[in-house]
């Protein structure tokens, strides 16, 4: 299955960049011609551009849910996400971009889009490249989840 794995987030905004840390780890482990691993610090329309022409897209992103603890990981099918607040305050959300593309007859949207959300609690508004302790611990867990997901069809 032609798959794209995307770490989403801002690499210089501390925990916000956790998805990119996960993607970097995955790059070292998964070497398959049908799996592309990349990172994206951008919003809905650009994300859509990056995932089209694949059968499956797995996005790894920092999320904030009031009922979860920092470091908790959720696997969310795209259909269950009503709004995708990207790092980009100017762009549209990914679900909105997908809805728009479908309306315009776009046929290249992946059939299977899921989000691996790593809860980061409050977002720091301070620049930095490091993850905090509990978020760092979540990285290998998220790596394992994505790896298992990808290997299902191997």
């Amino acid at each position: 299955m032609k798959t794209i794995i995307l770490g989403v987030g801002n690499p210089i905004l501390k925990n916000d960049g956790v998805g990119i840390h996960v993607a970097e780890e995955l790059k070292k482990m998964i070497k398959r011609p049908d799996v592309k691993i990349d990172s994206a610090f951008t919003g809905g329309m650009n994300l859509l551009d990056m995932i089209v022409d694949h059968d499956r897209a797995i996005l790894i992103d920092a999320v904030k849910r009031s009922d979860r603890k920092p470091g908790d990981i959720d696997i969310l099918p795209i259909g269950e996400i009503s709004a995708f607040h990207t790092c980009n305050p100017h762009d549209v959300s990914l679900p909105q971009a997908i809805e728009l593309a479908k309306k315009l007859g776009e046929k290249r949207i992946p059939k299977d889009i899921s989000l691996i959300g790593i809860n980061i609690g409050e977002l720091s508004c301070e620049f930095g490249e490091e993850l905090s302790g509990e978020i760092k611990k979540a990285v290998p867990k998220a790596v394992k989840i994505v790896k298992e997901e990808v290997e299902k069809d191997e």
Binding site: G9, N10, P11, I12, L13, D16, A40, F41, T42, G43, M45, N46, D49, D61, A62, V63, K64, R65, L76, E80, I81, S82, A83, F84, H85, T86, C87, N88, P89, H90, D91, V92, S93, Q96, E99, L100, A101, K103, L104, G105, L115, G117, I120, L123, C125, E126, F127, G128
Partner: protein
Amino acid sequence: MKTITIDPITRLEGHGKISIFLNDKGNVENAYLQIPELRGFERFAQGRRAEDMPQITSRICGVCPVAHHYAATKALDDAFNVTPPSAAKKLRELMYCGYIIYDHILHFYYLGGPDFVVGPDAPPAQRNILGVIEKAGVEIGKEVIKHRAYGQKITSVLGGKATHPVCGLPGGISKGLNKEEAKEVEKMSKSCVDFAKFTLKLFDDIVLKNKDYVDLITSDPYQLKTYNMGLVDEKNKVNFYDGKIRVTNQEGKEHVKFEVKDYYKKIVEHVEEWSYMKFPYLKDIGWKGLSDGKDSGIYRVGPLGRLNAADGMATPEADKEYKRLFETLGGKPIDSTLAFHWARLIELLYVSERAVELIKDSEITSDKIRNPVGEPGEGFGVVEAARGTLIHHYKLSKKGLVDKANLIVATTNNAGAITMSIRDAAKGVISNGKVDNGVLNKVEMAFRAYDPCFACATHTLPGGMPLQVDIYDNKRKLLKTYNRR
């Protein structure tokens, strides 16, 4: 006193928050905009290699990576005392045109335009690009998507990566254009010229031919008599990539024109205790609080700021549209905040025409794209980001590491004006404590016209993008909370 809080602001997904304070009669006493600023950039930058700054700063914000990339690259040209070859300058500017093309298209069709195309009173769920397509048709939707993608493509052909360019180097650019790429860019740029003209026509038909909209644009709550600022070329025409910073006054006359290296002699940042945002103002005029007029040093940047601060556009079709704008809205300067939308479309035409000029230039496929750098020192860089003047300033050590970094971003330049526009719109549309979706949206429209950017990542999943409105009584006791999507 009652307080209405609009939090966060729909369609701009940062942590923006508008607080509106009502008096006992339910009329607006005052209004404030609060935005959390990203902190600690100077410390973060300290000790890093200078040549990494164009990449690092392009990650400050997912909205204008290309603007930061080139403000940084130009600051490094200056810091390393090197002038790029003219082919490199042209390539940089061409790439910059691509960025403005996709950014301005995105704003008009996705963010600002829906207020007009779908209507300011329409439910928030319909006031978006899907609503626009519903109204304007699927074919137009396809053209929007296509041309936004063209802008991205022009940027990525030159920049290496669509969203975060890796091409800017002190003294030039790392990648040139081959003939084949140039041909493709030419085709796309020409198509963008037609699309920009089409969009201006659409604006005419939907907005300017609708008396209600014209009345709204020219109505008192949306007027602001500030100074205006923007980059201009040697003929005082709008330029995004290079030039001098020009400021014009409330009569449309030049107040001052200066090189970016003098910015700290001309601009001062005021601090208010209720806000993380700083409020820049013109030093020689001074800070007179959040007020407009000749005695207040507050200025505006962005599309309308740029057009007001210039004497015209450097390309023929855009210049015609420039003249028509000022003739239609009663001469220079234009004070209407909602005219930012029109100005933005004239700029879309300009950058498209400019891209065609540049790609036809015989030098554009040259391989002389880099000059050797000198010794590291201090450097200043300025560009016009889509939303206004952006300044980078670095001091480098002898080893070429960053000692000091200071940035003034576009939305900060507009901070005072945005806050006043929100306050005035709120005063104009809220009376006797009556608030509904349409009323709140008309307050947000004052804000959205500037296309502000909070540069602050927020990921809240899952769930909607609630617009929370808190209403308090005159003892600041919470009476009611509205949540809308």
